[in-house]
Symmetry: C2
Subunit: 249 residues, 2 copies
DNA sequence: AGATGTAAGTGGTACGTACCAATTTGGAGA
DNA sequence: TCTCCAAATTGGTACGTACCACTTACATCT
C-alpha cells in the first residue's frame, strides 16, 4: 500500500508519518493489533527507519502504541483515558465532555510581586506582575475560580480584552511565541473559603480542590496559577510517564 | 577533558553519558549555563552525535536541561521541583522530605471482580483480584489510606508477607518483571468518611484528597489504587509534559 | 511425540553523513 | 556610529549501515 507521504511542507517528515499512522490505527486497526515492523513501515512509506522510530517514539509517549522488543509494535487499548492532554486546558477538557466552556475575566490588574509571590514565581520581589482573576464555567455552571500571575516583562501589552477574546494558552502561543517546556501541578484538599463559596455558588460544607500550577518555559516560570474547584463536581486527571530517572536508583 | 566513557557494561552508552553529564552539571555548572555543543560533546566523550542527542533528549524530558535551536543546550534552573519522580512513590517521596516512611498491610485478600471493579480495571467481571488495604505513615504519623486492586493472573503467588518486606513497586520490578508504561491519576476533594477519619486519626471536618491511580503495562491496567489522604497535611505534586499531540490542533 | 537448538524476525543501540533552520557574530557598507 | 548582510555556530531532521537483545517459529534430533 505504498502510501508515499504527502508533500505537505512546513511539517517534518516524522510528524506527517505520525498522522498517517494515527489515521490508519483509528480507521482499520483494533486494540493490541500489531503494526507493521519498523523496517516494513520504512519501505511502505519510503522513509528511513530512523524517521519511523522517531514517529513511533512520539506515538509511544502519547500512549497510542506500545512496543515489545522481539515481538513488535502494538495499538494501545483503553480508549477511555486516551487523548488526555499533556497539559490541562479547561476549554478543551470541557469540549471533550460535550460542555460549553466559558471564561469570565473578573479582574485584571498589574502589581509588584511581594515576597510571597516572588517566591512562587522565583523572581525578585518588586517585579511587575499581572494578576488575573477568572471564573470558568461549563454550560453556565461555575466550576473553577482561577487566579493567575504572569511576569509583565514576558507578556508586554497584555490586556483584559485580549484575554476575553481568546484563551490564555492560545494567546501565549500566537502572540508571545511561548514554547512551554513542562508544568508542575500541586493538589490539595481544603475547606472552602467564603469567597470561593460565593463565586462557585456552593456551600462551605463542600470541600474544594486547590490546584497550583507552575508553567515553565526554558527552565523559567512564566505562569503561576492558583485555582479552586468545587469538590463535588470536579475530578482532575493527569497522565504520568516514568522519567528516565528510574534507571539511576 | 577527554573523559572516555567507563567500560561499565550492561547499560547502554547513552545512559552512561547521561550519568556523566548529570554529574558534571551538579558539580561544576550553574543554572542557565551552556553545555558544550552536541558536536563538541561527541568529540569529548568519543561517541557519535546521535548518541549524544539520545542522552540529551532524555535529560530534556527529565527537565534537567533545555535546548534552543541556534543557541545551545542549557542547565535548567529551579532546583525546587527538580527530581520529582515521574511516578508517585510514597516511600521515595517521604525519604526526600527527610521523613521515615512506613507501610502497614491492614488486610490482604483475594476476591472476584464485581462489576464496578471490573469496569475500573477493564477486565471481565469474575476475574480473580487481590485486594490490599494499606496504611502509609511518615514518622509514625498516618498520612494515606490505600486500597489497591491487582489481577491475580499478573502477580501469581503474591503474599501479604512479601508486601510487608518490600515495597509494591520494587516487587513489581524484581519479582514480576513489570515494565510500567504510564499511569493515569485522578484527584478529587471529598468529605472525609468515617473509616478514613478513624484510620488517619483526623476529624471528619477536615476534607480528604481522593486519589485514583491506574497503572498501565503494555496498554493494559495492572493496578488500580484508590487512596485517601488527609487534606491538612498532604499536597500532591505532579509534573506534566506537553504531549506531542499539540502538533495536531 | 517431545525436547532442543537454530534461524528468522523484531525492536534497541550505535555509528556515520548530509543538509536545514534558527541564532549569534562580526565585518562591510552607508 | 549605525545598519545590514554574510558567515559561523548550534540544534533539528533525514538518510544509510551495522550489530545486539529478545522473541517466535520451525526444523532437527532423541
Amino acid at each position: 500500500m505504498n502510501a508515499s507521504l504527502a508533500p505537505k511542507e512546513g511539517k517534518p517528515l516524522y510528524s506527517l508519518l505520525m498522522q498517517k499512522l494515527l489515521k490508519k490505527m483509528a480507521s482499520s486497526m483494533k486494540p493490541d493489533e500489531r503494526l507493521p515492523a519498523e523496517r516494513e513501515i520504512s519501505l511502505q512509506y519510503g522513509v528511513s527507519r530512523a524517521t519511523v522510530r522517531q514517529a513511533l517514539a512520539a506515538l509511544e509517549r502519547m500512549g497510542r502504541i506500545y512496543r515489545v522488543q522481539g515481538r513488535g509494535t502494538f495499538v494501545s487499548p483503553q480508549k477511555v483515558h486516551q487523548g488526555l492532554p499533556g497539559f490541562y486546558s479547561f476549554s478543551t477538557a470541557m469540549k471533550k465532555l460535550g460542555k460549553t466552556p466559558l471564561s469570565l475575566v473578573l479582574s485584571f490588574s498589574e502589581r509588584e510581586a511581594e515576597e510571597y509571590l516572588a517566591e512562587k514565581l522565583k523572581v525578585h520581589p518588586g517585579l511587575p506582575i499581572y494578576q488575573i482573576l477568572r471564573l470558568r464555567l461549563a454550560d453556565n455552571e461555575p466550576m473553577l475560580l482561577e487566579t493567575s500571575y504572569l511576569p509583565v516583562e514576558r507578556f508586554p501589552g497584555l490586556t483584559k480584552q485580549a484575554l476575553e477574546e481568546s484563551t490564555m494558552y492560545r494567546l501565549f502561543r500566537s502572540r508571545y511565541g511561548v514554547e512551554i517546556n513542562h508544568a508542575i501541578e500541586a493538589f490539595q484538599s481544603v475547606q472552602t473559603d467564603a469567597r470561593t463559596a460565593q463565586y462557585l455558588g456552593m456551600s462551605r460544607a463542600v470541600p474544594s480542590l486547590r490546584i497550583e500550577r507552575f508553567t515553565y518555559e526554558r527552565g523559567r516560570i512564566i505562569e503561576y496559577t492558583e485555582s479552586f474547584a468545587r469538590g463535588d463536581q470536579f475530578v482532575y486527571t493527569v497522565r504520568l510517564e516514568p522519567s528516565a530517572k528510574e534507571e539511576f536508583s
